[in-house]
Amino acid sequence: MLTQLAKFLKVLNSDSNPGQISLAFALGMILGLTPLWSAHNLIFLLLVCIVRINLSAFLVGFTFFSALAYLCDPIFNSLGELLLTHQALQPLWTTLYQSDIWRLLHFNHTLTLGSFVLASISAIPVFIIFRYLIIKYRSHVMAWVEKTKLAKWLKASKFYRLYETLGQGGGN
């Protein structure tokens, strides 16, 4: 995990495309927040593999949001329960229920549906905000951080040596 974090910081401080980093983070969020062994995650895993995104950012995002999911599961579950039992949506769910593909996606599972809906809705704002923050970070904060005492102390640490080593290996 420390390696991934170091790689992620290296990417953050490099010239890598902020769009690739923030998209990786958003996809990591979807996989992290929804139950891992769900069929829809196959599609997102395929996206992670074939779209040119930053894998370190994806892994950091996935790990972070997987941990966050433990706290948010009750909310996801309630949302899924609410949607699946909502009277107005019954015709929709009944139609989807007749389809093998939708059943395969476990849309009728409260936690899967709740987490997927919330993660999908959040993915676009997370992508935009994160991309904006990376750009701002690089133009305003990065130079200032490097001058601080904390950064100097960090540069002398083992973590920084790891960071440097990986940096030579190159990112994605």
Binding site: P35, C49, I50, R52, T94, Y97, D100, H106, N108
Partner: protein, 594 residues
Amino acid sequence: MRWIRWSGLISFLIIIGAVLSIWWLLAAPLIKTSIEHYGSEAVGAKVNVADVALAIQPFGFLLHELSVADPDQPMQNLFEFDRAEAKLDLLKLLWGQIIIDEITIHQVQLETPRRVSGALPASQTKEQRDESESKDKELDMFDDMSIDLPSADDILKKEPLLTEKRKKEWDRLYAAEKRKLADISDKLPDKAKIARYKQEVKAITKDKIKSLDDFKQRQKRLKQLKRDIKQDRKNLKTAKDQYKQSYNKLTRQLKLLREAPGEDWQHLKSKYSLDEMGASNLSRLLFGDSVTQISKKALYWYDKAKPFIGSSEDKDKEQVPDRLDGRYIHFHSDDPTPDFLIRNAKLDLQLPMGQFAIRIEDITHQPEIIGRPTLLHLKGEKLDKIRTVIVEGVFDHSNPVKSSDNIQYIVQGLQLENMTISRLPITLAAAQADVRGDLFYQDQIVGGQAKAKFQQADFVSEAKEGLAKELGKALDNIQQFTLQANIKGAMGDVAVDIKSDLDRQIKAAVSKRLKQKEKDLQKKLKRKLDNKLKTYLAGNSEKLGGLSSQQIIMDGQLSQLDDLLKQKLDDHKKQEKRKAEDKLKNKLREKLSL
């Protein structure tokens, strides 16, 4: 910058391939561990599986040597089987549902010995304790089938007696009436008051009237006095009526109390005599233990099987959603499928008496989704000492509000040998029986009946004296008889009723002995009831006598007051006229004498 890297497709396939390979390698051990872990938790004793293997075509799994220990007897298995082959619906599995199209279980054996204990560490859970307590209760319940008639003291202690009830009613009525009479008594005139009335009336009516004014004065006083007397008379009359009413009520109640021991006696006599209880007890004495044991065994296995056929309690538990796991919500479908379903299970059950073929359809914990009951078909033929056994079961929980279980069974050509049928030293050395019956469970009530026809019966008695000897002698000549057993009650508190034409056949033979016993008991009972009545009646007749004499006193008082009210004051003119007449009469008498 290009956003797509097609080489990633290879990475994706490698990842999927790796995941599937790992899953395939780990699935079998995981299934084995899950069955052992969750099975042990559910049963409360060790569940062991020797090996699990997965099959691709058709998709399914193979279980080897599964054994489930008996939580009550850890050195024994509830059941074990040699091999089970299951075909799973892969698509449904990907949907998150375990649908077993067919499972064939070979060589199922019940109650087999274990080499190592099947007890879990600290396995004496609360649930198990409750279960064993309820079993103890069951045993106690069946211990009621005593060979002896109960003692007179026991009967009087146990039976709700009418005598005691009526005594209490009498006490309550007497207290209430006494209160009413006490309230009235305060307003009644006493002896002194009546004497005073007499004196006053005499003074007004008998003394000489001096003038017209005096006359008027006296008339006024007499009027006032009569008003007071009338009021007292009214009070006395009301009191007398109340006394009469109370007397009648108490007399009626006392009559009922006197009759109560007689009624109690008739009731107890019929209840604790050969006519009612005694007759049915003969077959109960003989077959009670056997029928009880068989019923207990049947209910024990039913109780064990209940969790697998979807009870309403399980549904209640299931409806509480697990927040972290989530739950599947099912919608209308032409082919509704629950989360777990075994469409068809085939078992070959190996018992000491032979092999039984069992087929169970639609095993699920969500029967309301499929809308069909679980069906059980069991058949055993050419068994050791049994010609045929057929069991048909319908476990219908498809409507959660009105669930019911029903089992019908037929046993034909059952050869009985040296069967100890009761605690009496009488054995059924040989007989052939056909049994037909049913069992049901609905609304928390378990019930059922069995009709058995015994032929070529040969009873052997080793008893040298007493009732058992008489019974043994009577049974010697009996070769054919029928037995009907009914059970009904809440699970763990089931009442067994046994009827048989044996009662009629052996009643005469044993009645002499039992009659003597019954006579002694009845004599004691009557004596005790009579003693009870004597104690209860002590003092009550005196109380009623007191009320009666009080009424006689009141009659006298009323008569005195009536006499006083009849007293009148003569007219003043009449009094003067009478005086003049008296005077004239006196003068005339003087002249005539001259």
